[in-house]
Amino acid sequence: MAVAEENMMVKVPVFETKNFSLVRGDRELFRGLDIEASPGTVVAVIGPNGAGKSSLLMALTAVLAPTSGECVIQGRAAGSYSRAELATLIAWQGELPPTEFGLTVEHRLKLAAMGSGDSGLMHHAVKEMGIGVLLSRNLAELSSGERQRVEIASVMLRDCSLWLFDEPTSHLDLQHQVTCLNMFRREARKGRVIVTVLHDIQQAASVADKVVLIDGRGGIECGDVRAMMVADKLESLFRVKLTTISLDGCEVHLPDYRDHKDMGER
């Protein structure tokens, strides 16, 4: 039985934090985050550039030590595991790996599988992300979007109960954005917890159960998606004006990309 399915049956939180705070250099990124993620939860992390979204992911996996509180993963403090143990519990997608050393897509996926060599999992991930034709290609020859699909597939090879994604859709075309988010929902139903940093508030609203809003000035808030994705919270978080419309009974918040000072001249 897959790791995530076992979690689903016992229903212990995959991870939880209490009074979780992080200072980097002389800047306080966030203060007092309380979050509990039971199996099957998708958590979206949103906030402005440089607010500390990636750092939050790093703190959850004990790469960065929190200044207060702790992240408890499956009953034990994250910092008390060895890196090798954490690697069996958590998979992470982040920056695109360097291309200098001539890795092929196939080798890159092999490294992610960490020698487990589950060919069924490999077949599934490759098919879902549509990278079958790229397998023998060098990473350096791919576009950013293709490389990002390889990175997402790399996480899919890891049967961990916690998946962390750092802007998984930033380089993807529309089709693959949809594929990726659907995959998140499906994998969450299997009992995994997925924490994903997103910039698109529509994506966050449609995929997440819980949302973390982080403002980069110490403020951090976590709650149910309906309570968090409301116009006034998002407007003050990103400092933009939003128009709210109702679509199939759901609220959709749209920014206005036009420059009104410039409008008269056009």
Partner: protein, 310 residues
């Protein structure tokens, strides 16, 4: 596909060994030396020298591939952090003070150790600044060498230059020990291959794949520097093998270390053997500096492969 390449490489290597043993001031058939004289030349000059070249070349190529992955920089090579510079400084310093060639090797090794210790002090800074510190240290040792050369008596200068350009005709480290270091370095490197592979994805990815990156970085730094120190002590500074061979082997066999590392260990050895044979044959009985030959063989080979691949 790879097994074909490996078979081809083995055949090519055997032909190379045959040519390298035969070539010299006069051609000697390695299977049937024509006279007792030729027999002696073969067994007491050419074979020991071939083994030294093989071990040194292999060590340099392995060290090069480790430094490249450790520093995340494809331009890194065994001398990038100044180990060769400090080693040469030690050798020349002891030669100037004591005037003994035997002491040069002791000085070279001591110098290399000083170089490694200095670099280790910067290891915790992370790869970017470690590389910067190494490059600056290399420049410092270079200046030190120039100073010593400026001060030393004229007849010593050619000796110092000969040492620095690399010389495989004799090694003060017994050949058996060189081969043993080659074997140990290869086996130890292979035991690290999974962590090294993960490091190809960058430090953050390696950490997330369960690698203790700070520990791996220290281990690699010591291993690569030590192997470089042995190679430099045995044969002086021979450039280019450590830069080109790891890339060449990655192009041929892929980047995963389980294959790329042994390929570098053998490929580096073969390239240096070939370069050494050329260096003592081209203008025999005089010899060319072997470091010049490694570059002259290595550069066209590398550029050709680079063009073929793109």
């Amino acid at each position: 596909m790879n097994s074909g390449k490996i078979f081809g490489s083995i055949v090519l290597s055997l032909i190379l060994v045959y040519v390298v043993l035969g070539a010299g001031e006069a051609w000697i058939n390695p299977f049937s030396p024509a006279s007792a004289m030729e027999q002696t030349i073969l067994w007491e000059l050419r074979i020991p020298r071939l083994l030294i070249a093989f071990a040194v070349g292999g060590m340099l190529a392995m060290a090069g591939s480790w430094f490249q992955v450790l520093l995340g920089n494809p331009l890194a090579e065994p001398y990038v952090l100044g180990v060769a510079g400090s080693s040469a400084t030690g050798a020349i310093l002891l030669m100037t003070i004591a005037g003994s060639v035997w002491l040069m090797s002791a000085g070279a090794f001591a110098g290399a150790m000083v170089g490694i210790a200095t670099v280790m002090a910067f290891a915790y800074l992370g790869t970017g600044r470690l590389l910067l510190a190494g490059v600056v240290l290399a420049a410092f040792w270079g200046a030190f060498i120039t100073l010593l050369l400026a001060l030393m008596p004229e007849h010593d200068i050619s000796l110092a230059f000969a040492w620095m350009m690399g010389d495989l005709s004799s090694s003060d480290i017994p050949t058996a020990i060189l081969l043993l270091v080659w074997v140990i370095a290869l086996l130890y490197g292979l035991s690290l291959s999974r962590s090294l592979d993960a490091l190809l994805l960058g430090e953050r990815h390696a950490t997330m794949l369960g690698v203790d990156v700070p520990k791996l970085r220290r281990t690699l730094l010591i291993l690569a520097s030590f192997v470089t120190a042995i190679a430099v002590t045995a044969a002086g500074t021979i450039g280019f093998v450590g830069l080109v061979i790891p890339h060449l082997m990655r192009l041929l066999f892929g980047s995963l270390h389980r294959i790329a590392l042994p390929a570098s260990a053998f490929g580096g050895g073969l390239l240096l053997m070939l370069a050494d044979a050329a260096s003592r044959s081209v203008i025999a009985p005089a010899e060319l500096p072997v470091g010049v030959l490694t570059a002259m063989i290595g550069v066209p080979l590398f550029l050709w492969l680079l063009l073929k691949r793109t």
